[in-house]
């Protein structure tokens, strides 16, 4: 992290507006795309896990 902080865009003068847009972009990417996809994926993985366990060991739910 120390290496990245030295060349962080914010440390350069005049780069501030670009950083704002970058941060907003990252935020939107995380909040609207990545995390919803991860949430959906995790729930799907959970469902598949339960299903496979049902096929292999547990049998249908009681």
């Amino acid at each position: 992290m120390s290496a990245t902080t030295t060349d962080h865009p914010a440390s350069r003068a005049g780069a501030r507006p670009r950083t704002v847009w970058r941060d907003i972009g990252s935020f939107l990417l995380l909040a609207c795309v990545i995390l919803p996809v991860v949430m959906f994926g995790a729930i799907a993985a959970y469902g598949f896990f339960i299903w496979f366990m049902q096929i292999l060991f547990w049998g249908p739910p009681t």
């Binding site: 941060d23 909040a31 049998g59 739910p61």
Partner: protein, 409 residues
């Protein structure tokens, strides 16, 4: 490339924002979380609707018209069961697992596994068994979301239903045990396949036959007049006893030593004198052919006045079709009998009836079970072979045993 993505991901998560305030970030994240969760729930709800199920043509064309003819679609009280009420578990975990299982159904829709009515009918037994197993395991929970033994006024039912329902309520019987096919047609069980037969078939393929040994057919088998197995002359029933004469790679010659009624063509051959336990059925062209069939003995059955003949024939049949003891067959039959018949009533003891009364008793009831043809035949044979004619019990110890039949269908 991978390292770059990793680094970008790390930065995305770990690098603090320098220009957006923490409060704004948290608020934004909070809102995005709420919206995502709501979106997820909406998606769950949307995929839990009848319209969604019916958007696939296999459901609309096959399941809907069948359901529409039942009381679960229209009734005087206006309460209706929709697809998801019966077919989707209501608890979160089971529901999610079921939704993921639907990936199989989506796949089936894409490749068209049940794309036509014919394919669907062919496949119905598989689908039905899956659903029955699910409902049996969860004790018909989806039914019980609406129906409850405690709230039923059994006195309002038809008298015939009252008997069954009282007993079922007492045992807290799972609804699906008796009420299969209540919302959709029952699968055509003819020609369907009982998985228990697989163990018999594999037992048969590992049985080493020896000349002069006694063996039993594991499944119904065709019999032939020639070693090339080209001239079909009839069929052998399950558990029919044969004596091995010779065997080569594909075919074996066996001797049938059975009884028949000396009437008509005498095509149906029975295992014992005077008892209607079918063991083989010959085609009428050969059943009176003296080059094939030899008559060893002739006796009159005093109960019917019919003449019975002890007949013998040497026939060819495919290999890997015999086992050396019928016990394995009886075990499967016994399990089917106990399981299928006891769901609605206490099944009678095998020896409660004679071998000649069982066919009528069994034939009247088998329609209420989910036995396929072969299983039904096997169970009937099991019952006959363990009837009062063969087994000494409280019912069967009568003086007429083994001489004549006391009860005839």
């Amino acid at each position: 490339m991978i390292r770059k993505t990793l680094r970008a991901t790390r930065d995305l998560f770990l690098k603090p924002s320098v220009s957006i305030g923490l409060g704004i970030l948290v608020t934004g994240g909070f809102i995005a979380g709420a919206v995502s969760w709501q979106g997820f729930n909406t998606a769950m709800e949307q995929t839990n609707k009848e319209e969604f199920c019916l958007s696939c043509h296999t459901m609309r064309d096959n399941m809907l018209p069948e359901l529409q003819k039942t009381v679960h679609w229209s009734n005087r009280s206006g309460v209706r069961a929709e697809c998801q009420d019966c077919h989707v578990p209501h608890e979160f975990t089971d529901k999610i697992a079921r939704k993921m299982q639907a990936s199989r159904e989506v796949w089936g829709q894409i490749v068209g596994t049940i794309g036509t009515r014919e394919k669907f009918e062919e496949h119905r037994i598989v689908l039905a068994r899956r659903e029955w197993a699910r409902m049996e395991a969860n004790d018909s929970r989806e039914c019980r979301n609406c129906h409850d033994y405690g709230d039923m006024d059994i006195n309002l039912m038809r008298p015939t239903s009252q008997v069954a329902m009282r007993a079922a309520a007492e045992r807290d019987e799972s609804c699906i045990s008796c009420h299969k096919g209540i919302a959709h047609h029952l699968p055509d069980l003819k020609g369907s396949h009982n998985p228990a037969f697989d163990t018999l078939v594999s037992a048969a393929s590992s049985t080493r036959v020896q000349a002069d040994g006694a063996y039993y057919a594991v499944l119904p088998h065709k019999i032939y007049a020639d070693p090339g197995l080209t001239q079909e002359i009839g069929s052998l029933e399950v558990a029919a006893k044969v004596r091995m004469l010779e065997s080569n790679a594909d075919a074996q010659r066996v001797e049938l030593d059975l009884w028949r009624k000396n009437k008509g063509f005498g095509r149906v051959w029975y295992s014992n004198f005077g008892l209607n336990i079918t063991s083989a059925i010959l085609s009428k062209e050969v059943s009176r052919d003296e080059t094939l069939v030899s008559v060893l003995d002739t006796r009159e059955d005093p109960a019917t006045g019919l003449e019975w003949q002890n007949v013998k024939a040497e026939v060819w049949m495919p290999t890997d079709s015999l086992i050396d003891s019928p016990e394995e067959i009886w075990e499967i039959a016994r399990a089917s009998y106990n399981q299928q018949c006891s769901t609605c009533h206490r099944q009678p003891e095998e020896a409660h009836f004679g071998a000649n009364s069982w066919p009528a008793q069994f034939g009247g009831m088998v329609g209420f079970t989910s036995m396929d043809d072969d299983t039904a035949k096997m169970v009937l044979k099991y019952l006959q072979k363990h009837s009062s004619d063969f087994i000494e019990t409280a019912h069967g110890g009568d003086p007429t045993k083994g001489v004549i039949q006391s009860a005839r269908p």
